[in-house]
């Protein structure tokens, strides 16, 4: 499973049961990256995509995603140790947070393979970092 996560400068993901932020350019990028594969999401995450987006919606997407599938984690469990690849997106902004992603990826054997900045719709600069297990 390929894990997708968005975080702010403090590693935050959500605040008060809601995502910190979203961006349509990022969503389009995710759909492009996952084209030809399954993109698993929870019902909450599905609502940020347009109707008809090619999503696999599940109450337990982290359990349903198979090898080679993608799982965009927001409000669901995050089985990082089971991931083959991690796509980490940084908003490069600071928001309030009460749910964070603070896993030390290198401690789990992940190595950063790529880092790329791109302009979002409502974010000046979003950074995409890709981590893979050696």
């Amino acid at each position: 499973m390929n894990l997708i996560i968005c975080i702010d400068d403090a590693g935050g993901m959500m605040f008060n049961r809601r995502r910190q932020s979203q961006d349509r350019v990022l969503r389009a990028r995710l759909l492009e990256i996952t084209k030809g594969a399954k993109l698993w999401v929870t019902p909450y995450t599905a609502r940020q995509f347009e109707d008809g987006a090619p999503l696999c919606v599940s109450d337990r997407p982290w359990a349903d995603a198979a090898a080679g599938d993608y799982y965009f984690a927001e409000d669901g469990e995050i089985p990082t140790e089971c991931a083959e690849k991690v796509y980490l997106y940084r908003w490069n902004r600071l928001y309030p947070s009460d749910r964070k992603f603070t896993v030390d990826l290198s401690a789990l054997g992940f190595v950063q393979k790529n880092s790329e900045d791109f302009a979002g719709y409502s974010h000046e600069c979003i950074t995409e970092e890709i981590y893979m297990k050696e």
Binding site: N16, R18, S21, Q22, W91, Y95, P96
Partner: protein, 362 residues
């Protein structure tokens, strides 16, 4: 000429007053176990709403002109809203939201605490999709009161930020400490952040807040601003400074937000106006280092003239920022000496360029 802005402010003030009355009703019903309020889950509405109480004041509401009344009626969006506005206009006293500080835990290391399970206290009638901003009148002591806005893209600034140094909020007794980021204890803190409504030197929107308090507010404003930019939706946003008794410095502020078109944004928090390591006399704004155990001698920690600006001396060679009475200034070569008079923001810009505060005098 007809003052549409004034009318708009008046109309929205009326809405806000009506909402505060509804908040009282909400408090009562919540206490009775009749939770209503936000359109959310049942858990979201069973709230400790008694944390906010509503009290009457003796301030009389200015009667709108007949022209304004006609315009207000014409602009009413719904029957319910019209009824609410009419009802509030019959009031002879102006309700004012007050926060019972006894229900707020003492600061214990976190910049804020969540109130009401994170759900704001807006009434249904306040949740509109037409942008507006209302800044409450200063009270008898010259202190800011609640500000409320329906934030939309159309309220966001389109020009560069202007100076706010002309405003001297209550309790503005500036002091500098080396343990404070940037040196200055106080900032002129926007209640509604500049990035949301572009307000510069609006005395109704600026309070004396610590650097720590000011920095802690920014992530919440970022979240609202980016949400609006992305969705073009509206966010109801209210910031209520909380003053204990006749104190001139706010103890903190209640920050409430709710995205009107969906549930993308929701929070209700109390932000502490504190500065770790510094003891503040909230009655006056004076302060001292906690480690010193007592107030500073005037001129020892506080060297700023009472004009709201920073008066410092720069060493353009060593890139150090000195207080005027620092021994380093006397030893400084004249060609490297440059006087600095400016705002905290301007000092921050210098620090960002590589200047550092002198370790001796700061």
């Amino acid at each position: 000429m007809f003052d549409f802005k004034k009318l708009f402010e008046k109309r929205t003030l009326t809405r806000a007053l009506a909402a505060l009355l509804l908040a009282l009703i909400l408090c009562i019903s919540a206490c009775d176990g009749q939770g209503t309020g936000m359109e959310s889950t049942a858990a979201d509405t069973t709230a400790p709403a008694e944390q906010i109480t509503v009290a009457d004041t003796t301030q009389e509401e200015t009667e709108p002109s007949s022209e304004q009344t006609t315009q207000e009626e014409a602009e009413s969006d719904s029957e319910t809203e019209t009824e609410t506005e009419q009802s509030s206009e019959e009031q002879t006293t102006e309700p004012e939201a007050t926060i019972d500080l006894s229900n707020i835990p003492a600061y214990s290391g976190s910049e804020y605490v969540t109130l009401n399970d994170g759900m704001p206290y807006f009434s249904a009638s306040e949740l509109v999709t037409e942008s507006y901003e209302t800044y409450g009148e200063l009270d008898a002591l010259g202190r800011c009161t609640a500000v409320i806005a329906c934030c939309g893209k159309d309220l966001m600034p389109t020009t560069d930020r202007g100076s706010i140094s002309s405003v001297k909020p209550t309790g503005w007794v500036q002091a500098q400490y080396s343990i404070v980021n940037g040196g200055n204890l106080y900032n002129r803190c926007h209640l509604i952040g500049w990035q949301l409504t572009g307000e510069d030197a609006n005395e109704r929107n600026l309070i004396t807040g610590t650097r720590y308090f000011n920095e802690a507010m920014i992530p919440f404003e970022n979240m609202i601003a980016d949400y609006i930019k992305e969705t073009n939706n509206h966010v109801m946003y209210r910031v209520t400074p909380v003053f204990e008794g006749d104190n001139l410095v706010a103890s903190g502020a209640v920050m409430e937000a709710w995205s009107v078109e969906d549930e993308g944004i929701a929070f209700c928090i109390y932000m502490y106006n504190v500065q770790p390591g510094i003891v503040i006399d909230y009655a006056t704004g004076e302060s001292y280092l906690e480690a010193d155990g007592g107030p500073t001698t005037p001129g020892e920690e506080t060297t700023q003239p009472d004009d709201g600006l920073l008066h410092l001396v720069l060493n353009t060679s060593s890139k150090r920022v000195h207080k005027p009475d620092c021994s380093g200034v006397a030893q400084m070569s004249e060609k490297n000496k440059q006087e600095f008079t400016g705002t905290q923001e301007e000092l921050d810009a210098l620090l960002a360029q590589g200047y550092k505060l002198c370790g001796t005098c700061h």
